[in-house]
Symmetry: D2
Subunit: 213 residues, 4 copies
Amino acid sequence: MKVLLSGFDPFGGEEINPSWEVVRSLPDSLKGHILVKTQLPTAFGESFHNLNSLWDRENPDIVLAVGQAGGRSGLSVERVAINLDDGRIPDNRGRQPVDSPITEDGPDGYFSNLPVKAMVRASIEAGIPASLSFSAGTFVCNHIMYRILHRINTGDSKIKGGFIHVPFLPDQAAGKGDVPSMSFESMRTGLLAMVEAVIAGKPDLNVPMGRIC
Amino acid sequence: MKVLLSGFDPFGGEEINPSWEVVRSLPDSLKGHILVKTQLPTAFGESFHNLNSLWDRENPDIVLAVGQAGGRSGLSVERVAINLDDGRIPDNRGRQPVDSPITEDGPDGYFSNLPVKAMVRASIEAGIPASLSFSAGTFVCNHIMYRILHRINTGDSKIKGGFIHVPFLPDQAAGKGDVPSMSFESMRTGLLAMVEAVIAGKPDLNVPMGRIC
Amino acid sequence: MKVLLSGFDPFGGEEINPSWEVVRSLPDSLKGHILVKTQLPTAFGESFHNLNSLWDRENPDIVLAVGQAGGRSGLSVERVAINLDDGRIPDNRGRQPVDSPITEDGPDGYFSNLPVKAMVRASIEAGIPASLSFSAGTFVCNHIMYRILHRINTGDSKIKGGFIHVPFLPDQAAGKGDVPSMSFESMRTGLLAMVEAVIAGKPDLNVPMGRIC
Amino acid sequence: MKVLLSGFDPFGGEEINPSWEVVRSLPDSLKGHILVKTQLPTAFGESFHNLNSLWDRENPDIVLAVGQAGGRSGLSVERVAINLDDGRIPDNRGRQPVDSPITEDGPDGYFSNLPVKAMVRASIEAGIPASLSFSAGTFVCNHIMYRILHRINTGDSKIKGGFIHVPFLPDQAAGKGDVPSMSFESMRTGLLAMVEAVIAGKPDLNVPMGRIC
């Protein structure tokens, strides 16, 4: 199997984006499977344009994008992407869409078709805090997740796709006050455990991981 | 115009549900418009069954469900509902679905067609904390929001529908530790301001209210 | 008995300070006891100078200062004041002491001699969220609490004194994002319950209200 | 110089206490200075009894206790200890004092005489999140900090003493939900930076690190 993994470049005044740092650190092959890794710009259209070209070339079985969620405590596996760009800040190309659909003819939302609960469980069993998330926001992270799932749902239906958010690294959080962070090693361990769960084709868990509100 | 408003009965060990308390307190008419109010059981199928019957009878222009979101600080207007029941606790009939689609043939998500940002703004201008939310959870609140929007999207397309979450009342929060709450009067003021914005047919605002992640 | 109560004027860019609004709203007498109320400037030295003069004139039995703690969810009764001014922002006279002792010859800390747990309990029983706090900060609130207790501990030992923090009012929190607030009526109800507990001479409760860390 | 460092044994249902894990991992000497390390029981009296005996034997220049603060995001340097035991849970010997003074004839509070702001800064400069804290709670952590400072203030005035809280380790937080954590390596790096700042005799910083409330 081949897994296409992406991370983003730094945005929002940060000098580093942990999502790319951790993705780039993964090995090129894992238990006989190939990992293709790419850095995407934190930019609404361009990010998917670049990923899409690589997708065409590489013909992966799994497409997994990773992004930074500053302020969260653990890894979070996103369950759903929504058809909405609404930027609180401009992206790295200066674009700040407000209330714009990502794809005019797309549905309002798409669930990830990855075994999201099994991924959360795999990280926790590896000792790394993780949880399920029901909103990837409305910035570039949600944008690329939606477009990955739109391609899967409008053609590439055999491909599995989804999105994982990682917290700030410690030196990003240092000096920001009471902001949680996670070490690079912890992120890498958790992400690897999740990728292995996906590659192993683990069926999803039949346990509640929902939220009351 | 006619507005159909619902609140829920108490759940999760609470003796009161502020959503129904505040809905029941609204007047029967508002600036010449009719408000129909009903209490629904916090139960996955039955809640919508009851609302649906009333909807058939009353033929409303707007359907607005309200529910309790213990732990939130302000009113929150939900932007999207997802096709997923995943109960962390059983509902008031003892049912606890896990990873079940609400409607087998429905799409993964539906956006509210209410002017959600104008509603948030109306509450804030009335002095009541409010924000936009991108997840109504996976319990009965999300369930009924999804089913309202499914009916609208599969037939009743002229009707506007959505969902508002309210915090705990002060006496629910008292003794629970550091848990935010909102007074009944504040909830009522904010909810009225939102309903008036909807009735007035205010166009939605073109301002960013998104989240980065 | 006579109770001297103070609130502060607005600071930190706010147009109102709920502490004074709620204190000024209290009756002049309560079950035969006299309530004397005064507004103090949010200024390190001047606040206590003014309170001290009134204290001399009024000869109260109880001195209770109230201040705003924006961001907290409920009323909080402060257990301890420390001998430290350390302003993250300037006070209302432009003074911003850093690492300065309040009183050169004072001890590092003073406990309130009010029945702090009974006050918390009285508020909760009145339906208003309240908790015990172990830090009044290092701004003017802690300053005046320390100086009240310093006077009590260096002479006026029969007087009971302490400090209560109140959250933002709803219209202060509205528009600030996910910030808790409390209605004026709730604050007033909780504060009255606390003052009545103090006047009634309730012994303090022998129940744990500590924190692990 | 000689530094006496302590960590605690596990409590509150945990199987590990990061404070002892990180303290035990420190070298025996650091730039020519001696580090003496000991594990203390999470027990009100016994913890200081043991530390005190070692103190007598070792005659250290600096006494630094470290404890676990589950739920905090970064390292926190405690500024003040208070003369109060108030256990929300029993200690590891089953004792649960409520509202008990630690020392009948001691003052209400003691400031650490360490350069607390320089320690926070040293950790942040090493890339590890840290902040100043104004409450060490009312459990065994505050207890031992108070007793260290009481001994210093009633005799051993040339000795520097204080307390540092560390967050949960990742595998403690994993599965607990949205709870922050810090890796062992990050804790160790931050703690070393702080100890080096103390050994170097860095004067404290003259910058605001206070809290408004």
